[in-house]
Amino acid sequence: MRAIDLQHLSKRLGQRLVLDDVSLSIAPGELFFLIGPSGCGKTTLLRHIAGFLVPDRGRIFFDQEEVTTWPPHRRETGMMFQNYALWPHLNVDANVAFGLQERHVPSAETRLRVEEALHQVQLGGLGQRRISELSGGQQQRVALARALVIRPRSLLLDEPLSNLDARLRLEMRLEIRRITKAFGLTAVYVTHDREEALSMADRMAVMKDGRLLQVGSPKDLYQHPNSLEVAAFIGEANCLSGQVLGATEDPMIYAVETPYGRLLARKPQEHWQPLPRTEVHLMLRPEAIRPGTPSPESNGFYGTLVETLYLGASVQYRVRLKDGVLIQWLVQHPRGDLRTEGESLWLDVDSTDLLMLED
């Protein structure tokens, strides 16, 4: 276990600023995710931790020890590459044994540890196979065994599941999480798959244009995003706009004037005190919407149903609001008849589900 501490990292590659003053602390034993659209700098950040890149500015610490300019082979980090990077000229055993040989581990012990590592990833008995004779999932496991057998102090994973089919991906998610926890590894995992991040991470960071937008637990980020960008990247998000009227008795709940009338919304951070007449966005998850009937207490609006997408476990409706804005409405476990297109209906929203975000 090792704590990873990044302080003010900046990196320019060619004309592009690929890391822009990134600071981040990863706790020992944490499974930490870096997520963001392609080109956001998440892989670049990972390669700085691995040592393949040296930052222009800023410092990297492993457990208080500065390693900013250490070469990769001295960092004791296991790494899993996107295309596995298994060596085609070596068989499974030799691939896994490589790191131990570099450490001059006696051959008898090497044999034992390789066997044990392969056993842990459920590949016992396949040591003599050539890499080309393995399936994608098996190659994945060899790559994991190869990274783990050296008993690294941290594990870096660069989109390790992106080349697997959907079913295998689900299986490997659990497997990787189980193994990192069993080894007590500090792991940094890069992906652009939000489900992967939400389901596996202890904490995660959303990146964009070389900057960290927000860091937190999956639940935090999903429920309390501090910007529309984070909200939209982590899940489906509807966006309405309005003007702040003022706070209610509950200091976290504000009244907001919208084209659909007055709505109550929650602000994500305590310290933010929006003044009346401030332009704000209102973020609403599709699954937080309920059909209802209008009353003086209800928090909601009218809409016209324009499109139906039946998905089996759920139905996705598209609803047009008064001013022409389209929103998504997700109904889980639909029973009875589907609603008909063209139907006009009242939609209710809980004030805690309507998130007020800065413009």
Partner: protein, 564 residues
């Protein structure tokens, strides 16, 4: 560290190319354009075009080149079309046999052709024996001035190059493009002209230009056929009085100029409407199995081409195994005497030793340079690496005889490279010359191999604790080995068979490499020709074993290595 190594490679390779490539060329040019009292002159150049002998030589060279290329096309186009589209009996092994002529030295083959098709050769004897021909009026199959013989030998040696390039291009044509034309109502024959041929143009062009330039500047074959009035032979004969005569230099410049003109001129002409080359087939082509008489026709055609292509080599084999083979279909007396003698004769024995030495050293030089340049090109982003890329590819565009002549001119005493001629020993000169000719191929081969190795494979090693040097040694090196070996093998084989440099640069019997020894023996009286054939046979045998052996070692490994 990496940067330092890169700069070091960049500087030393550039220096090497400047010294051993640009300097010899510029030396030749200087002699061709420098007047007797200093100053520049075009007189010598004009003299070449005024002299009827030189003009005839150029005309003959052009004739040989044009007809050799046409002959190659005549064989290669149907072969490639059938190979890419159809499945038939014996396809794989026949395809391999088609390439055999590539590894056999053409001017040894020329000896064989003379034995088979000469006036007193096997074919005439056969026809006379059957009463078709009169003993007193044998047919001269090789044509007036033996030009036909030269062309025939060139075609039989060079058609695999056109075939390989064309079938590579054809295999890259997406079958869907054909199908699309078909759906739009284009019948097969028109489809060939409107779709297949334009798309295969890059390969066809590449193959033809190599064959054309090769035939245009080939020295060994016309020498064996005693064709004097061809530019390459005229240059060869002129080296005896090199000291004060600027005309040979001018002739070399003219040959080089024409080569470049033809090369770039034809490229400009053909490239206008070449659209192919960008695409890569997305689907494998479903091969159409040919059954019944169609299948046998295809097999028969391949067998026939292979049989004809092997005629020269069969001729060499018979000559080497016979005593006084003359005016009979098959030799009267069989003997292994020449084969034994070829290994005991003082000239052949030293020649074999010399060739092995020259070729080995040249290959080593090529490998060191090739691996360094490939690493520089693929793994660094150093400014100026494209310059090195361009420099190392330049020997491709310069005919062997031009380079050889340049080396000879610059290594005479008092010239900048005279230190390469260690006393009388041309060892260093030949090693550099051989290496230079094959450097582009080695660089290409290793570069291609290195590009296949994803940098993540090296990074994986580093993340597991291997230093960059260790990663290079344990991961990159074993993976790139097949390409290095293939490039080295090619360099070695061609160095063993090099003609132009060997003919021109080795002056004394003591230093003759195999090719020049064969030439010397072929012209000798008595058992010379059969000894020459025997030596040629040994060379062929040796090369075949090298190729087959390495193919077997690599074949097993290559298959496993690249199935990632």
């Amino acid at each position: 560290m990496k940067r330092f190594a890169g700069v070091l490679i960049l500087l030393s390779v550039t220096l090497f190319m400047v010294f051993f490539f640009l300097l010899p060329l510029s030396g030749t040019f200087r002699m061709a354009f420098m007047g007797p009292q200093g100053g520049w002159t075009l007189d010598y150049l004009f003299e070449i075009f005024r002299n009827p002998l030189y003009l005839e030589g150029l005309l003959n060279a052009l004739t040989i080149a044009v007809f050799s290329t046409l002959g190659c096309l005549f064989l290669a186009v149907p072969l490639a079309l059938i190979f890419v589209r159809y499945e038939f009996i014996g396809k794989a092994s026949l395809n391999g046999l088609l390439l055999v002529p590539l590894i056999l030295p053409p001017f040894v083959g020329a000896l064989g052709i003379q034995a088979m098709l000469g006036q007193a050769g096997a074919l005439n004897s056969f026809l006379i024996a059957w009463g078709v021909l009169s003993v007193n009026a044998p047919i001269d199959w090789l044509g007036r001035g033996q030009l036909l013989g030269v062309i025939l030998m060139n075609v039989l040696h060079l058609y695999p190059i056109v075939y390989l390039n064309l079938s590579g291009s054809l295999a890259n044509i997406d079958p869907q493009w054909d199908d699309a034309a078909n759906c739009l109502g284009c019948p097969p024959f028109r489809r060939f002209w409107r779709v297949t041929l334009p798309l295969a143009m890059p390969g066809l062009y590449a193959g033809c230009s190599i064959a054309f330039i090769w035939a245009f500047t080939e020295l060994g074959v016309p020498l064996i056929f005693d064709v004097e009035r061809v530019t390459s032979v005229q240059i060869f004969n002129a080296i005896k009085d090199l000291n004060n005569n600027p005309l040979p230099y001018a002739l070399v410049v003219v040959l080089m100029g024409l080569t470049l003109l033809l090369f770039f001129g034809s490229r400009a002409f053909f490239r206008r409407d070449v659209a192919g080359g960008e695409g890569k087939a997305t689907l494998g082509r479903a091969l159409i199995p040919l059954t019944g008489w169609r299948g046998w026709l295809a097999t028969g055609f391949f067998v026939a081409v292979v049989a004809v292509a092997l005629v020269p080599h069969i001729g060499v084999l018979l000559m080497a195994l016979s005593k006084d083979w003359y005016q009979t279909v098959l030799p009267d007396q069989w003997t292994v005497e020449p084969l034994k003698k070829a290994l005991g004769h003082p000239l052949t024995l030293t020649a074999i030793g010399n060739s092995l030495r020259y070729a080995f050293l040249a290959t080593m030089l090529d490998l060191v340079l090739g691996v360094a340049v490939a690493w520089l090109l693929v793994r660094t982003k150093l400014f100026g690496r494209s310059l090195v890329d361009g420099l190392t590819m330049m020997p491709l565009a310069v005919p062997g005889i031009v380079m050889a002549f340049g080396y000879l001119a610059l290594s005479r005493s008092g010239q900048p490279l005279d230190w390469l001629m260690m006393g009388e020993d041309p060892l260093m000169l030949l090693v550099v010359a051989y290496a230079m000719r094959r450097l582009p191929y080695v660089v290409r081969s290793v570069t291609a191999g290195l590009q296949q190795i994803h940098p993540a494979l090296e990074e994986a090693a580093e993340s597991l604790g291997a230093s960059p040097i260790r990663a290079l040694w344990r991961v990159t090196f074993p993976l790139v080995m097949p390409s290095v070996l293939a490039g080295g093998l090619l360099a070695f084989a061609f160095a063993m068979l090099e003609v132009s440099d060997s003919m021109i640069l080795a002056q004394r019997t003591l230093h003759f490499p195999i090719t020049k020894a064969i030439y010397a023996l072929a012209g000798a009286l008595g058992d010379g020709p059969s000894l020459a054939s025997a030596l040629g046979l040994w060379a062929m045998l040796f090369l075949t074993i090298t190729f087959v052996g390495t193919g077997a070692i690599l074949g097993r490994k290559i298959g496993a290595l690249f199935k990632v």
